[in-house]
Amino acid sequence: MSNAAKPPLLRLANVVSGYSELKVLKGISFDVAAGDFITVVGPNGHGKSTLLKTISGLVPLTSGAISINGGPTLAKPHAIAALGIAHVPQGDMLFPEMSVLENLLMGAYLAPSKAEIDRRLDEVYALLPKLSDRRNQIASSLSGGERRMVGIGRGLMMGGQILLIDEPSLGLAPLIIEQIYGVIAELSKSGRTILLVEENPARVADLANHLHLLDDGAIVWSGPPAELLARDELLTTYLGG
């Protein structure tokens, strides 16, 4: 996965992080190269969201290093966002009193020009046409699925190099989950680099090119999704079957 000549887009080296005294991640290391679709699976409460929050700077790093394009480890979330990390957080974390359009524009907060903002907006509306219809609706009045779409659209508006997506299926009806994963599949086909965390490995079986199994804050297995799905003992031990 890692390219010897060029540093990977994202490199995690022995990452340890958590909340005050509570250590959640206990030495995570892996690379994400351009065009990769990496998925981290694991049961609830074992550090998947903390992993993405640590990469984007919301949870401070206790030790280890996170390098973007071979650069030094940064601490401030806004500086990390400026390097191209677009985090679509769990629970959407939209700006509830802003319209859909304003939420999307906040995604392009660091965009260099108005023309670039318009270009990204066209791209998002093409991929998620419902957002164009709902552009003037206040975010707090949207359904769960629509909010998730806005969250993904806002992440795309950031124009980042890597899209971090946190449990896109959480709390949604099966039909909506299918739609959301359809959008993610489109993104993957277009060559986007994606790091996604998910509880159910079957959902990413056809999408991810590599998978890490996270248990109690540590990676216990890595490999292609098909291999994990074929190993019943791993699924039973770590993911409850």
């Binding site: 919301l58 906040m106 995604g107």
Partner: protein, 295 residues
């Protein structure tokens, strides 16, 4: 009867405009930072005295005095962030709200006493004011009241445009609505906090100038407007700007009406009664929403 009603409306709208200005500064800081700025009263006073200094002591034109009040207020807000708030934010976030409240009480007392030492306790006349009235039949509209309402309307429009239409305003609103999400979008929240305190300081500066033009300059000048502003904020729901403006005008009209009907001494108790009733029946305020916090 009509002239009495118009007199009540004029008094209500003028004090409502002043309350709105005081409330917006306070509400903006609370809404975006979760910070109750107890030094807001002293910043109002500073604005009034700054205008006096530029216009009377230095003999500069009225426009310079007006601008001076804004600039000095903005600088005071900026310094409050750099010297106090920035350092408190580095500590435990859970204790920030209480720590910053206590710290700004201290800043307010220090600032008020500094003004007392510099200018003395004797009331001074604010030179930036308009005299005379526009007489329309039985109705007399004081130019000073008209000026205050005009300035406040212009300022409200500028603040609304700033918050609604500019990149900086969107960042302020985003930070107020979801600080973590704003950071993920690339917003440097510390810069936003600085901008909010500068803006709030500038608003306080103008407000102090306006209040002193209606009364007189004295070191505790800002205390009464700030107390009223707290009431407006609670009634509207802390951090809700349009609600705060609506509450300011509504309560000022109520106060003016009660003062006319029952006597001046019943105006403030009526406001206190309203705020207690709101706290009992609608704790999040008329326009606020209850927040559930994970402890």
């Amino acid at each position: 009867m009509l002239d009495i009603l118009i007199a009540i409306l004029i008094a209500g709208f003028t004090t409502g405009a002043l309350y709105a200005l005081a409330t917006v500064g306070l509400s903006l800081v609370w809404g975006s930072m979760g910070m109750l700025n107890m030094a807001h009263a002293a910043m109002l006073t500073l604005g009034g005295y700054s205008a006096y200094t530029f216009s009377t002591t230095l003999g500069l034109p009225v426009f310079v005095g007006f601008t001076g009040a804004i600039v000095v207020g903005a600088i005071a807000g900026g310094l409050l962030y750099i010297l106090i708030v920035r350092n408190l934010l580095k500590n435990d976030k859970a204790t920030f709200e209480s720590n910053v409240m206590i710290a700004t009480v201290g800043v307010g007392i220090a600032l008020e006493n500094t003004i007392l030492l510099a200018y003395g306790g004797q009331p001074l006349k604010q030179p930036i004011s308009a005299t005379g009235s526009l007489v329309l039949g039985p109705v007399s509209l004081p130019y000073q009241n008209m000026l205050i309402v005009f300035v406040v309307i212009v300022l409200m429009a500028v603040i609304a445009l700033l918050l609604g239409r500019t990149r900086m305003g969107r960042a302020i609103r985003a930070t107020a609505q979801n600080r973590d999400a704003a950071q993920l979008m690339g917003v440097a929240v510390n810069r936003v906090y600085f901008q909010v305190l500068v803006l709030s300081g500038a608003i306080a500066g103008v407000c102090g100038l306006m209040v002193s033009s209606m009364t007189q300059l004295s070191p505790p000048l800002g205390n009464d407007p700030m107390l009223k502003a707290f009431i407006m904020c609670v009634v509207a729901g802390l951090g809700n700007l349009p609600g705060a403006v609506a509450a300011a005008f509504g309560l000022a009209l109520l106060e003016a009406f009660v003062q006319y009907v029952a006597g001046a001494r019943w105006g403030f108790p009526t406001l206190l009664f309203v705020v207690i009733a709101v706290l009992i029946w609608r704790p999040a305020g008329f326009f606020g929403r209850l927040q559930i916090r994970r402890m």
